[in-house]
């Protein structure tokens, strides 16, 4: 129970970092951590299937797509 609260607070922190970060790559990085954190919450709620699918779909597909589009953007490449 305490573990779930800790994971939840961490998740809120990652979400704020991901949404508020000016740097596109950092947003994608914190989004990865957020996805793994949500998967961990599902895991400790003993919902293993949703937990695995969360990582497969979001970390496997969505974050890869976001990273690919970050690669295409001039804004990240020109940044210091």
């Amino acid at each position: 129970m305490i573990l779930l609260y800790i994971l939840g607070i961490m998740g809120i922190g990652f979400a704020i970092l991901s949404a508020g970060s000016k740097n596109l790559l950092h947003s994608a990085l914190w989004l990865t951590f957020l996805v793994v954190d949500v998967a961990a919450i599902f895991f400790f709620l003993e919902n293993y299937f949703i937990s695995a699918i969360e990582v497969l779909v979001y970390a496997g597909a969505i974050v890869t797509l976001i990273l690919t589009s970050v690669m295409m953007s001039r804004r990240y490449l020109d940044a210091e």
Partner: protein, 361 residues
Amino acid sequence: MDLFYFILSILYGILKFLHINFIPFNWGGYPVGEWIAWAIVGLVEVIIVFALSMLLVVILVYVFRKYMADLQNRIGPNRVGPWGSLQLIADVFKLIQKQDLIPSRADRIAFKLAPYIVFTPVALGFVLIPFGNISILNLMVLNFPYTVLFLIAFMIISPLGEIIGGLSSHNKFSLYGALRSAAQDIGYEVPMMISVISVIILAGSYSANSIVYAQRNIPFIIPEVLGFFVFFFAMIAKQSIPPFDLPESGSELVSGYSTEYSGMRYGIFYMANFGFMALTSFVVATLYLGGWEGPFPFIPGLFWLLIKAAIFMVIFLLSWIALGRVRIDQFLNLGWKYLLPLSIINLLISAGLALTVGGWF
């Protein structure tokens, strides 16, 4: 007997020997002492698996260097220790002593986090593999449904670290490496997942242990030759070893995403590479060759699993040393035009088998 209860009984034995009473340590009616004992046992278990897998990686690196030298008419490492067996430890000390350079224009947070994103899934993946047994001691660390899904999920996280590492270096070669890494991931991950799904359909379970048990009569390599073929190619692409080492091709991209990494950060990438080689050979042996199942019951299951995995490790090493590199467009053609249709055909075949003679397997 499970490994968990084995370590728990050892812990209680030690506590009894030291005259410490652990169980009645209550806090508001909750058996906190028991929970602490379980946490300690879980930690010890994970540390044991981690240490053994890292030992396996060290052995694998040594075998790789000796084998490569043998094929190239060299002697290989022969100065440090007997037959050069301590060379890798010397190399690790060299890497630790090296200055850890970070490029001034690099994205510092992402640059520092990337090696850990690559390495952590390897360390976690070893916990999920059913290692069989030694006489009555069962070596399965985690036994819950959906183990295979988690194995695949861990394999999918690590390329993100490669892409982030390549992007954050702010280096043209690293950027190319990251771009190729992303393209290659999308190319092999879909056929890999579909071939894993056909194994799951045929076994009727998501648990790695049940998949091994379903292969007691006939290993899945026989009904699913196509699926094995696809999964094997995907695993070679996963480790990015030749012929599919496009993200880190040494001669054209100066080792791709890890160009700017030096010192122990590069060492972590290196360990993750060899760790994935060991992990993927265990996964292929578990899914398609029957894991710890073997013909003679008096020989422990761990032995069979190690033999089957060692065959794949040698095949991977041979592919690394002997083969050339394909172009990126050739690899993407292979992934989308050949591996994906083959895996879908394999899915249909295994669905048909599961509907007709499924109970026989």
